[in-house]
């Protein structure tokens, strides 16, 4: 049975879930030192649990998407939210490395997969009318960014006031709202009556043999590479150039501000203009911004300008990339199929972080990484151009 509900309620619930889950996720980094100090863990113990969490989060995305497509986004978001809360509370009360790995690693990783933005996108793809879908995903992307910034000072305040253990439990309490909000996002792939019935295996096979899907996946890999490299290595790069930590932090504020503008605008533009051309333009702009940042003598003003430009180009890829998946394959399997695209993003992010360290250790500078980022941006800009921005033939809606 298809339940009719207000688009405004659906979008508001999805955006609030993005605020809560990303906010909590971003705040976890604040607990590394305080919780380790309380429990007497070394950094390796904590890092191992977080590494497991990231691994399960990435691998779990296509599965969470597939389950959401089959059984409904609301159920997956609710289940993920409960696992998320359980993981946070048990992590706070963990006293051994093994318990930390099970709670902060396994439970939180699975919770992140279920209560993820990807599942919200899958829900939007089914519940929001096509002409407002791109806008809604852009708004939710901007909301996720807001959540990260909003929760960080909140987490700091809780830490200062109540200590690491209580602060983590309190923050987990916010995520308990996710199962309630998920009620507004119920709906599954089978509810899309005008789309052909395609099994999960056939969907994977069809997508992997569709050149446009593969090109889109390669493009999103580059996005992950850029973001992984910059988030991890820009601060030490700026420090190497002799700039203060304060400048790096203000740059972050600008990235956040302009990311809101960029993600929202991309969602809006993606509803009326070619998504592949917009994506190509974003990657080309990244290449230009990187090249100027490397070639122009770096001053504090240039750093802030770079941050503003990167903010505009930061997550503007998300509504356009996810939107293209829905254009090509419809919404029946959109959660799973975007899950695979997202997995490529995470692999790119891993390589961006890891290679940045390898290159720096080998050469004593990041120059090679900047030029590699430029080359990849140009490749991504090119690879989006031939993408076919229409429904794959075997996935065309039935006209009956």
């Amino acid at each position: 049975m298809t339940v009719r509900r207000s688009t405004t309620v659906v979008v508001a619930a999805g955006c609030l879930i993005a605020v809560l889950t990303y906010g909590m996720r971003a705040s976890l980094g604040l607990f590394t030192a305080p919780l380790s100090d309380v429990r007497g863990w070394d950094r390796e113990t904590f890092a191992f649990a977080i590494a497991i969490q990231n691994l399960l989060w990435g691998i779990g995305q296509p599965f969470a998407g597939a389950i959401a497509d089959r059984y409904g986004s609301g159920r997956v978001l609710a289940g993920g939210g409960l696992l998320y809360v359980a993981g946070g509370v048990l992590m706070a009360s963990s006293t051994s490395g093994a318990a930390l790995t099970l709670s902060g690693g396994v439970l939180l990783g699975l919770g992140l997969s279920g209560a993820s933005f990807l599942v919200v996108i899958a829900a939007f793809s089914r519940l929001v009318p096509p002409d407002r879908r791109s806008w809604a995903i852009g708004l939710a992307t901007a909301s996720g960014s807001l959540g990260q910034f909003l929760f960080a000072p909140l987490g700091q305040a809780f830490l200062s006031e109540y200590g690491a253990v209580t602060a983590l439990v309190l923050l987990s309490g916010f995520v308990a709202l996710v199962p309630l909000l998920a009620i507004a996002l119920t709906g599954r792939g089978d509810d899309v009556s005008d789309e052909p019935e395609v099994s999960t295996v056939a969907a994977i096979r069809g997508a992997l043999s569709h050149p446009s899907y593969l090109m889109l996946t390669c493009g999103f890999f580059v996005c992950g590479f850029h973001i992984g490299f910059i988030t991890t290595h820009l601060p030490p790069y700026l420090t190497d150039l002799g700039f203060s930590g304060s400048l790096a932090a203000w740059s972050l504020a600008l990235i956040g501000l302009f990311n809101v503008i960029g993600a929202y605008s991309a969602g809006l533009l993606g509803g009326v203009h070619s998504k592949r051309l917009l994506l190509s333009g974003i990657y080309l702009s990244r290449a230009v911004v990187f090249a100027l940042f490397v070639l122009i003598p770096t001053t504090p003003f240039i750093v802030l300008l770079f941050a503003a430009a990167m903010g505009l180009l930061w997550l503007s890829t998300v509504p356009l990339t996810s939107g293209l998946v829905a254009v090509m394959f419809g919404t029946r399997h959109v959660g799973m199929l975007f899950g695979f695209v997202f997995l490529s993003h995470q692999i790119g992010a891993f390589l961006g972080v890891w290679l940045g360290g390898v290159v720096y250790e080998a050469t004593g500078a990041y120059d090679l990484m900047w030029w590699l980022s430029i080359a990849l941006a140009l490749a991504a800009a090119t690879v989006h151009l031939p993408i076919s921005e229409r429904r794959a033939p075997e996935w065309a809606p039935s006209t009956a």
Partner: protein
């Protein structure tokens, strides 16, 4: 013409303004903390991307 075009430009600007002010305000708090030595730039920069 998409329905989003039926939303007034003023509404779009208001949404961006509210999200932008909240985001920038929260980030500015962190920046101030970093300037005061309460937080390292690396600990704030890693907060940027929801996809990580």
């Amino acid at each position: 013409m998409g329905a989003e075009h039926r939303m007034k430009l003023r509404t779009h600007l208001l949404i961006v303004l509210v999200l932008g002010v909240l985001t920038f305000g929260s980030a500015a708090l962190q920046a101030a903390a970093a300037a005061g030595g309460d937080s390292s730039p690396s600990s704030t920069f890693r907060l940027v991307c929801p996809l990580h």
